[in-house]
């Protein structure tokens, strides 16, 4: 199980299926997304996969109005850093929330997004 979720590919496959996963350090309990080899705190390598509930609050956000090549059709779109209830943060696209109501502390909930065959992390209303 540890082997299976330690790669980004698996993280996204799980996410596409609607399951948000992180890894938890077996020594200090720190959570990490994306998966990494050593825990930043104690440099242990004793990870266990952990399912995240998907609830969180906005830490910071922006509305992108000039996009990279190939993404112009998507503007304007909001991107936010979200602190999940379990204490780890994740960056994703914000959908179905009016830009004007976005603010730090706003509760949101994870949802997988599929745009042009690409899976991305999304957050919608809590």
């Amino acid at each position: 199980m540890t082997e299976r979720v330690i790669h980004l590919k698996d993280f996204f496959e799980e996410a596409r299926a609607g399951h948000l996963t992180a890894i938890r350090c077996g020594r200090c309990g720190a959570l990490a997304i994306p998966p990494k080899e050593f825990c930043e705190q104690g440099h242990q390598r004793e990870w266990q996969p952990v399912a995240l509930e998907g609830a969180g609050t906005v830490v910071s956000f922006t509305v992108i109005r000039i996009a990279p090549r190939g993404r112009s059709g998507e503007v304007p779109y909001a991107v936010a850093v979200v602190r999940l209830a379990e204490g780890v943060s994740l960056l994703g696209r914000v959908v179905d929330i009016p830009f004007g109501t976005l603010k730090a502390g706003l509760p949101v909930r994870f949802r997988p997004l599929e745009i042009d065959g690409r899976t991305m992390i999304g957050f919608g209303p809590a």
Partner: protein, 384 residues
């Protein structure tokens, strides 16, 4: 370790060029060698920085190409890439090669050319400097990264869009005094505040432009430098890194790599922020200058916006920041920026900066930030 000095500087005009990155570097490099007053044959190594040449020019292996165009095809070369901090990283490694005694004279710098591709392509290539697994798919751009930082700084300290605009106005004013600057035109606070949002709360005039240009400096050991008229000493040069993932930054209102790089450089130089007379720092966005002036220890956390508003960072103020016009007005050819900042500080410490001269400057600092604040370099310079 041996002392190291900058003995020559060269910078191309910044703006749009129809020459390649390698050509732009070669021109700046030749200017730096002539400025140093040394024979081209004295150069023992070339440390070269470029970021997007593979994308914009279909050109890799650019370091030996630059050496060839310089007329020094047999000099050993290395290419560096650390996003916007590229040539400052190259500089630090060149300093170490001389300090260790391996070489006595090195040419170091970089070049970038992006105005030959459409803006949305350049935006895409620059975004390659952020993580390709999570951040690029979400559509996060570089203005987006600094917008997240700006929002956090505004929420925590009450920093305003108007304070950010003051940084743009000031750096454009400084740019009018720099004949090499991409923009040499003053702008008003209203122009900045009325410009369109790129990534809220950052507007067009909060952002530095895309720029073509090259910059180079000649570094020498103390023994060689002493034979020159005006060596400017490298007092300290320090690198720090931070997580590549924006989501992992513990406090988005700070750039901790700046704080750590600054502490290391000050310690190495035996200096404090109060000793610094002139600064060239990484104002890729107006908020970046505000956060950097705090992280470098010049102003308390949360007061960088006030410093800009009060004019403390203007030429003639308490601590002139970016007399060259900064990335904002001078321009930001990302592979060349670190070397161009060093060239400006050397020019200032020599007392040769003309209308933008900071009178009596004896100690200067350069700060260059790469990518989503994952790479930061800080160096300190002094004159005899």
């Amino acid at each position: 370790m041996r002392r190291v000095a900058v003995i020559g500087v060269g910078v191309t005009k910044f703006g749009k060029h129809d020459r390649t990155s390698a050509e732009l570097f070669a021109q700046a490099g030749a200017d730096a060698i002539l400025d140093a007053g040394i024979a081209p044959s004295a150069i023992q190594a070339l440390y070269f920085g470029n970021v997007t040449g593979g994308e914009t020019e279909r050109q890799l292996h650019m370091a030996p190409l630059a050496a060839t165009l310089l007329g020094l095809p047999n000099v050993p070369t290395t290419r560096f890439e650390n996003a916007c901090a590229t040539s400052h990283v190259a500089f630090r490694h060149a300093v170490m090669e001389i300090a260790s005694g391996v070489s006595d004279v090195i040419l170091v710098g970089g070049a970038e050319r992006v105005l030959n591709v459409p803006t949305e392509s350049a935006t895409e290539f620059f975004a390659y400097c952020s993580d390709a697994s999570l951040e690029q798919p979400a559509g996060l751009t570089f203005p987006g990264v600094f917008a997240l930082i700006a929002r956090a700084h505004m929420d925590k300290y009450g920093t305003t869009e108007e304070q950010m605009a003051h940084v743009a106005v000031k750096n454009h004013r400084h740019g009018t005094l720099n004949p090499k600057a991409q923009f040499q035109k003053e702008i008003s606070l209203e122009t900045v505040l009325k410009s369109a949002y790129v990534a809220d709360p950052l507007k067009l005039y909060d952002c530095c432009p895309f720029t073509d240009g090259g910059a180079a400096v000649v570094l020498a050991s103390e023994e060689v430098a002493r034979r020159h008229r005006r060596p400017i000493w490298v007092l300290g040069t320090h690198a720090a890194s931070d997580t590549m993932f924006v989501q992992e930054k513990r406090d988005l209102s700070r750039v901790t790599a700046t704080e750590r790089a600054a502490q290391g450089a000050y310690r190495q130089a035996g200096k404090t922020p109060a000793d610094v007379d002139v600064v060239e720092l990484h104002d890729c966005f107006t908020i970046a200058e505000i956060v950097a002036t705090e992280g470098l220890g010049f102003f308390e956390p949360g007061t960088g916006g006030l410093a800009a508003e009060k004019g403390w960072t203007s030429l003639g103020g308490k601590l002139p920041v970016n007399p060259s016009g900064g990335l904002k007005a001078k321009g930001h050819p990302i592979g060349a920026t670190g070397a161009a900042q060093i060239a400006e500080i050397v020019t200032q410490l020599r007392g040769e900066a003309g209308k933008r001269q900071v009178d009596g400057a004896t100690t200067g600092l350069t700060h260059t930030l790469g990518g989503n604040t994952a790479t930061v370099l800080v160096s300190l310079f002094g004159r005899d």
